[in-house]
């Protein structure tokens, strides 16, 4: 798979060490976010009891003026979204698909070796297998705390029997039920899987949209939430395509989860902005932000240890958490810049103060 080189804004600055790309990526992304966070923190915290709604304009000059800048802030995620969509589209034109499927979605075999194999010469195994099966790829599962290799993962489109035979011939060890996991997905099923998971993704998006419309019963606020959820899916997908990460069935499930997982902050924001009667609109949005950003943080805290602390976990697990982490990061932008921007504009139009 050749990587399509199209700059995607800030993302192209990120340098990659293939083996620990999860960690390095998240670190860089977090420092970036922290700057955005600081920007927000400079925002004028509206004082309680600032009685009359007519005087909603923040008074202090040095502080960030949300009324003035929200349209500009709104543009940031929109630009990233347009870049992401363009990237996914060009990716589609080059590869014929919007993502790179792993063997669980394209058909093939994954063999995970452990036990005796880990003490054998893995490099030799890698080289010799490459000469026999041209599409074979490798990953190591390392426990970060001890530095030990827990498992060695081999992926190929070959049949399990062929791959198994080659591994046994090269390494000299017998594959057994104790020392290996073997997963085989026939091409008949994998195509079906992929179609259905994409269908499930669409259904789940539609169902989520219906719930949101029922909840708010008004077009623009509902649209803002749904738009943010859409962006939460597109941005991580573009990044994953750019990084050349192969998506498994579990990965697509994670995108579905993202739909449900990311909208709670949007619901919080919209409810606070529209239904809360006290305080100015800016105060309400900022109040929602204070609650919501902490929600984003705890949700991220729930998925991050899988990359920094305990890494010896199944790959499907890591992929779910990686996509959730990307989605949650994207959600911070999309909720507090995009969705907040639309809601602010909507309330200004409707005269909701």
């Amino acid at each position: 798979m050749t990587r399509v080189q199209i700059p995607t804004g800030a993302f192209s600055l990120i340098l990659w060490g293939k083996s620990n790309f999860y960690q390095s990526f998240l670190l860089i992304k977090i420092t970036k976010l922290y700057k955005v966070f600081l920007l927000f923190m400079e925002m004028d915290e509206p004082k309680e009891q600032e009685s009359k709604p007519e005087k909603a304009e923040p008074s202090k000059k040095n502080k960030f003026n949300y009324d003035k800048h929200y349209k500009f802030l709104f543009l940031i995620p929109i630009i990233i979204l347009v870049f992401s969509l363009a990237y996914i589209f060009s990716f589609y034109l080059k590869t014929g698909d919007i993502l790179i499927k792993d063997v669980s979605l394209s058909g093939g075999t994954t063999i995970t070796l452990t036990g005796d194999f880990l003490s054998s010469d893995l490099q030799k195994l890698e080289q010799d297998l490459k000469s026999k099966h041209n599409d074979v790829s490798f990953r190591k599962l390392t426990d970060l705390s001890s530095g030990d290799i827990i498992a060695f993962i081999i992926e190929s489109q070959s049949d399990p029997e062929e791959l198994k035979k080659s591994i046994q011939e090269i390494s000299g060890y017998e594959l057994s039920q104790e020392n290996s996991n073997i997963e085989f997905t026939g091409s008949a099923l994998s195509g079906n899987f992929y179609r259905q998971l994409i269908l499930a993704l669409i259904i789940s998006f539609v169902l989520m949209s219906i719930v949101i419309f029922i909840l708010f019963r008004s077009f623009i606020p509902s649209f803002a939430v749904i738009f943010a959820a859409f962006a939460d899916i597109v941005m991580p997908l573009a990044l994953i395509d750019y990084l050349g990460i192969k998506i498994s069935t579990a990965g697509i499930a994670a995108f579905l989860m993202l739909i449900g997982y990311s909208v709670d902050t949007d619901i919080l924001l919209t409810t606070r902005a529209l239904k809360k009667q006290e305080g100015t609109l800016n105060q309400r949005i900022f109040g929602a932000f204070k609650t919501g950003i902490f929600m984003n943080l705890t949700a991220l805290a729930a998925v991050l240890p899988a990359f920094f602390i305990i890494t010896g976990i199944p790959d499907s697990f890591r992929q779910i958490f990686f996509i959730l982490a990307l989605g949650l990061l994207a959600d911070i932008l999309n909720t507090w810049l995009t969705n907040a921007g639309i809601i602010k504009w909507y309330c200004d139009k409707k005269g909701i103060k």
């Binding site: 996991n181 499930a253 739909i259 809360k276 006290e278 929600m295 949700a299």
Partner: protein, 550 residues
């Protein structure tokens, strides 16, 4: 302090979950339940703060001691073949072995040490196996052929990807089956696996979003090759003379298949060929039904004897499995035109060494016998997915996932303490988060849901959403608005219920998509948020009200 009904409900369900999850003797698990509920009594009636803390400390100590001392000892029989002599004597799956020859067995190490000391190969030994209620005495020169494992400390069932085993997903070739036809297929397939000697199978028919129907077979402790051969082939067995079929597999033609009886079934001879590969021949007899026997007479009636070999008839009896020739047997001239009810079936196995060839022959014989007994599957099946996972790797993963869960728990706790700088609020969020995950596990255990890797990912991700909801409740109820507390909590619940329904909406399609392989993820996520919205969130709202009044 007066505790409202919602908190009582939460603690009762928590107590019940503990009783379900922990694998303790019933009396002890009941005691644990009672102790958990007594926490409520202490909170309600204890007058001074000091008393409360002392009493709660005692309760937790008691729970800990009970769990620690009542964990069952011994090893459990996890799999025993119905062919085993131990089975005939009455040993069954699930029985717990406490001692062997008066040596107490506490764990797997004890078990293998005691068995090694017995040194079986030489002569017949007496083994006295004591179970919880009875004792069996055997005289044997063979190592017990059943499989034992440690008694699990919990009743939680883990999926094949963590506990080890094989899974196959099969699709009928070129045909869409009705639900009834699928049910027949399930019955025949499980019969075949059971006849082969595998008891721990889970076979079910599953359907997906596009209306395709699949057969899913999950087996603990079988290698994928055997599984593939047993169910991946239709097993259409035919014995033919020329183009005439004498008999086929299944009870209509074959009334008895000799198994496990050295006088009429076994491996005959082994020998190497020129290239050094060993071949072993097996044979076993089958009894034909009168109808099939007459057919044999009718077909052989017109055959002449073979000019090259006068003892045999000119045509051979060809044994075909799924239209492939397994073996060809000479028919003795004396059988010509006779109604024969006993037929000898034979075949061969091969291997690099004599032992390999012998084992291969035994294995092939067992499979062929199985197919002859159970008959052909009504449809030809294609294996579309075949996975096998190692219990060793599964244990490593389980351990790491548990540690990961602990870390997630810790990090969220630290964040909460930093944010709220209030021990009571932070602790109540943490305890609620724990209860939620615990009750989710309890419900999953109660309905014997197999927790696979995606399912556990769902539970951990669910912890994140649960905390989010509680943050909303706290921030709403502690906001300095003039609106009354009840109205503010009501608004918090509007947000929470909205988030709840979006997660349900997002997860529902996963129940069917992709042959239901990600059902576990959808299930635990939905279960977790449902436990949240029905049990823990209402109770948490009450706790926050109490904290506010203070």
């Amino acid at each position: 302090m007066k505790l409202s009904l919602r908190i009582w409900v939460l603690v009762f369900i928590l107590a019940f979950s503990a009783m379900i999850i922990l694998n303790l003797p019933p009396a002890f698990s009941f005691l644990v339940g009672l102790l958990i509920i007594s926490i409520l009594l202490v909170l309600t009636y204890s007058k001074s703060k000091k008393n409360t803390i002392v009493l709660l400390g005692l309760i937790f100590l008691a729970i800990f001691l009970i769990i620690f001392f009542s964990i069952p000892k011994g090893v459990v029989i996890s799999s025993i073949s119905s062919d085993s002599p131990f089975f005939t004597e009455g040993l069954r799956k699930g029985m717990i072995i406490l001692s062997i020859n008066q040596n107490s067995i506490k764990n797997m190490e004890d078990y293998s040490r005691v068995l090694n000391n017995l040194n079986f190969s030489t002569e017949n030994r007496k083994i006295e196996i004591s179970l919880t209620s009875e004792t069996f005495i055997f005289f044997t020169n063979k190592t017990p052929d059943f499989v034992v494992s440690e008694i699990s400390k919990t009743n939680i069932k883990t999926g094949l990807d963590l506990s080890g085993g094989s899974r196959a997903i099969l699709k009928p070739e070129n045909i869409t089956l009705s639900q009834n036809q699928m049910n027949d297929l399930v019955a025949v397939t499980s019969n075949r696996l059971n006849t082969f000697g595998i008891s721990d199978v889970d076979i079910r028919s599953i359907s997906d979003l596009e209306g395709n129907r699949f057969l899913r077979v999950e087996v603990a402790g079988i290698n994928p090759e055997d599984l593939k051969e047993l169910i991946g082939q239709q097993g259409k067995f035919e014995a033919k003379v020329g183009n005439d079929t004498v008999f086929v597999s299944g009870e209509k033609d074959i009334t008895f298949v000799c198994r496990n009886d050295a006088t009429c079934a076994g491996v005959e001879s082994c020998s190497p060929d020129q290239s050094g590969t060993y071949f072993c021949r097996f044979r076993f007899t089958v009894s034909l039904s009168p109808l099939a026997a007459e057919r044999h007479a009718e077909i052989t009636k017109n055959l002449t004897s073979d000019p090259a070999n006068q003892e045999y008839l000119s045509k051979k009896l060809d044994l075909l499995l799924d239209d492939k020739l397994v073996d060809s047997l000479y028919i003795g001239v004396e059988l010509k035109g006779r109604i024969t009810t006993q037929i000898q079936i034979s075949g061969s196995g091969s291997g690099a060494t004599e032992e390999d060839a012998y084992n291969d022959a035994i294995n092939s014989m067992k499979k062929l016998q199985t197919i002859l007994i159970t008959g052909s599957l009504p449809y030809k099946l294609e294996i579309v997915k075949l996975d096998s996972s190692s219990p060793v790797l599964g244990r490593e993963f389980t351990k790491n996932i548990l540690i990961l869960g602990l870390f997630v728990f810790l990090i969220i706790s630290i964040l909460l303490f930093v944010k709220y700088k209030n021990i009571k609020i932070s602790l109540s969020v943490i305890l609620t988060m724990f209860s939620e995950a615990f009750i989710t596990l309890g419900v999953a255990t109660l309905i014997s849901w197999n927790l696979d890797v995606p399912a556990i990912a769902g539970i951990i991700a669910g912890m994140g959403t649960g905390v989010n909801d509680q943050i909303v409740i706290i921030d709403e109820s502690f906001s300095k608005e003039s609106l009354n507390l009840k109205a503010r909590i009501k608004r918090a619940f509007f947000i929470i219920i909205g988030a709840f329904f979006t997660i349900i909406a997002a997860m529902i399609p996963l129940f069917w998509a992709g042959a239901g392989l990600l059902k576990g993820f959808a299930f635990t996520t939905i279960l977790g948020v449902s436990v949240g919205i029905l049990i823990t969130r209402p109770a948490f709202g009450e706790i926050i009200k109490i904290l506010q009044k203070e």
